[in-house]
């Protein structure tokens, strides 16, 4: 896939590298606390719920619902300004109440987004080594980009 000019790419840290490694293999994986068993996102050094420093990365279903969303119609970012309008959402993952991820919704008309709309993860291969998670309405046809 052709990389758009200036597409912001993740700069992984030691803490976040496993997340991006998973994306590269088109798997959505998150830290899961070995103390209280809860998932968390974004990656943190210890569990925000129980403070345990012990966790492991586990693949999740990649299914969730729209908790909130916006339609970006004007931005000043050098890359994203060329992609308006686009929809960003907070997705609540099926695995756990209150397990949120921010994300770009694709394959959707902005006027059709609704609260609680079921969505699923897809991966956009932006280079040979980087894939980014995106979200689309569950059951939507692939191909159109947001």
């Amino acid at each position: 896939m052709e990389m758009l000019p200036g597409q912001p790419l993740p700069v992984p840290t030691v803490l976040t590298q496993p997340f991006w490694d998973g994306c590269r293999e088109h798997r959505l994986s998150l830290q899961r606390c070995l103390g209280c068993r809860r998932f968390r996102f974004y990656p943190t050094a210890a569990c925000p719920h129980c403070a345990s420093p012990d966790s492991r990365w586990e693949e999740v279903s990649g299914q969730g619902t729209v908790y909130s969303w916006i339609v970006a119609r004007k931005t000043y970012d050098p890359y994203w300004r060329n992609r308006v309008p686009y929809v960003c959402a907070i997705v609540e993952l099926r695995e756990q109440e209150g397990l949120f991820m921010p994300g770009l919704l694709v394959d959707v008309d902005p006027s059709e987004v609704r609260a609680e709309m079921p969505v699923e993860v897809v991966f956009e291969d932006v280079s040979e080594t980087v894939s980014l998670p995106r979200w689309r309405p569950r059951g939507a046809a692939a191909g159109r980009s947001g």
């Binding site: 840290t13 974004y42 943190t44 970006a72 970012d77 949120f100 995106r134």
Partner: protein, 391 residues
């Protein structure tokens, strides 16, 4: 524990504009000097400086040098957003009350219109390199298109719409209330009346937010002088007393991205309101006006609710019914707010409260103003607030 014995003795401003033609350092120096003059204080008697900003203010070492202050007994430079605009005043009050310093100038200076604009490319890069974010956050936000504050706050606003049926007329009512107040404020930049039609015709930024839901990026500076009650009584202006200050910085929540919040339609105020009023020893009904942080229209609504002035979901009706207007039950943002006076990152709302409590607000004066609430923030994660009282 309450902080006894601190007062605000002076306030000062530069002109607010879209292009100051001055450096941020010059703006800061001008505002601090004006605040000292207002208090009748020799500027070189200032022995403490406190400021904050996102790498876009002039920090204390720079300003202290340009004011010839020499040795500072207390200084503090926060890399932080508007959520600390009230916390810095509390900090200065603590410094004075504990004898660390005698006269502390709190200031904020920025070229927010002609210089670094929040949400722009340079700003995003800067935010990614400050320690404000965890090292994990920017890589998830920039790569999905969430690059500016309006988008983050619009996401919170949408959640409030989903949960409580809030709609754009509620946001418009906040914008129009602020604009009406700004018409009475010579420092305000946007003073032409605003109608619902004009609001609805303004361009989208991040739906549900239009341009007129967003504060006014501004060049300028303001400052205030915090000192002991005793010292303040000897100075030129009636002291405005520090009655209470509270801050909330919830652990396990992001800074801009509130990813670990349980409820995105509730803000920091819900966690600090009771202890703020308890410390001040007053009830909500004793508050004569409120300067509620309005980086965006929505943040005003959620703060009015979470400080307990109205039940959840009813702040929009409060504004639409005119109860937040001058002459209403609780006048809000008497200067026109960050939406219409200008965005000096919230510190200008503290200076407005001082003017009101000194009875110097002219056409926009809240009659008999005895107590004012000022607050700073709007998201679920972090914020701060003050209760100030007339002498």
């Amino acid at each position: 524990m309450a902080i006894d014995g601190a007062s605000i003795a002076g306030v000062g401003w530069t002109r607010y504009s879209r292009n100051s033609g001055a450096s941020v350092e010059e703006l800061a120096v001008e505002a601090v000097r004006a605040a000292a003059d207002d208090a009748g204080l020799d500027v070189q008697e200032i022995d403490g400086l406190v400021t904050y900003g996102l790498c876009d203010t002039a920090y204390s070492g720079v300003v202290g040098t340009s004011l010839g202050l020499g040795e500072l007994n207390y200084f503090s430079d926060h890399t932080a957003g508007g959520n600390v605009a009230c916390a810095v005043v509390t900090e200065a009050a603590m410094a004075v009350a504990t004898g660390r310093a005698k006269h502390v100038a709190v200031y904020r200076a920025l070229n927010g219109a002609s210089g670094i604009r929040y949400g722009g490319g340079a700003w995003s890069q800067m935010m990614a390199t400050t320690s404000l974010f965890s090292d994990a956050e920017p890589q998830f936000l920039d790569t999905c298109g969430l690059t500016m504050p309006a988008q983050h706050f619009a996401m919170l606003a949408r959640r409030h719409m989903i949960k409580y049926g809030t709609d754009h007329r509620d946001f418009a009512a906040v914008a129009m209330t602020c604009r009406n107040h700004a018409a009475l404020n010579e420092r305000a930049q946007m003073r032409e009346p605003l109608t619902l039609d004009r609001y609805e015709a303004s361009p989208w930024i991040a739906d549900p937010f239009r341009v007129l839901d967003c504060c006014l990026q501004t060049d300028g500076a303001c400052a205030l002088i915090v000192t002991s009650d005793e010292r303040a009584r000897d100075l030129r202006k009636p002291p405005v007393r520090f009655r209470a200050g509270a801050s909330s910085g919830h652990a396990a929540r992001g800074v801009m991205w509130t990813n670990f919040a349980e409820d995105h339609s509730t803000c920091y105020a819900a966690r600090i309101a009771d202890r703020l009023f308890a410390e001040a020893g007053i009830g909500r009904e004793d508050v004569d006006f409120a300067e509620l942080y309005d980086c965006f229209t929505y943040s005003v609504l959620v703060q009015l609710e979470d400080f307990g002035f109205v039940p959840k979901g009813e702040a929009g009706a409060f504004f639409r019914d005119g109860q937040a207007a001058l002459g209403g039950r609780l006048p809000v943002n008497t200067h026109g707010g960050l939406l219409s006076e200008g965005y000096i990152h919230g510190l200008n709302s503290v200076t407005e409260a001082v003017i009101q409590l000194r009875g110097e607000a002219g056409a926009r004066q809240v009659e008999g103003a005895g107590f004012g609430l000022v607050c700073a923030g709007g998201a679920a994660n972090s914020g701060s607030a003050l209760i100030l009282g007339a002498a």
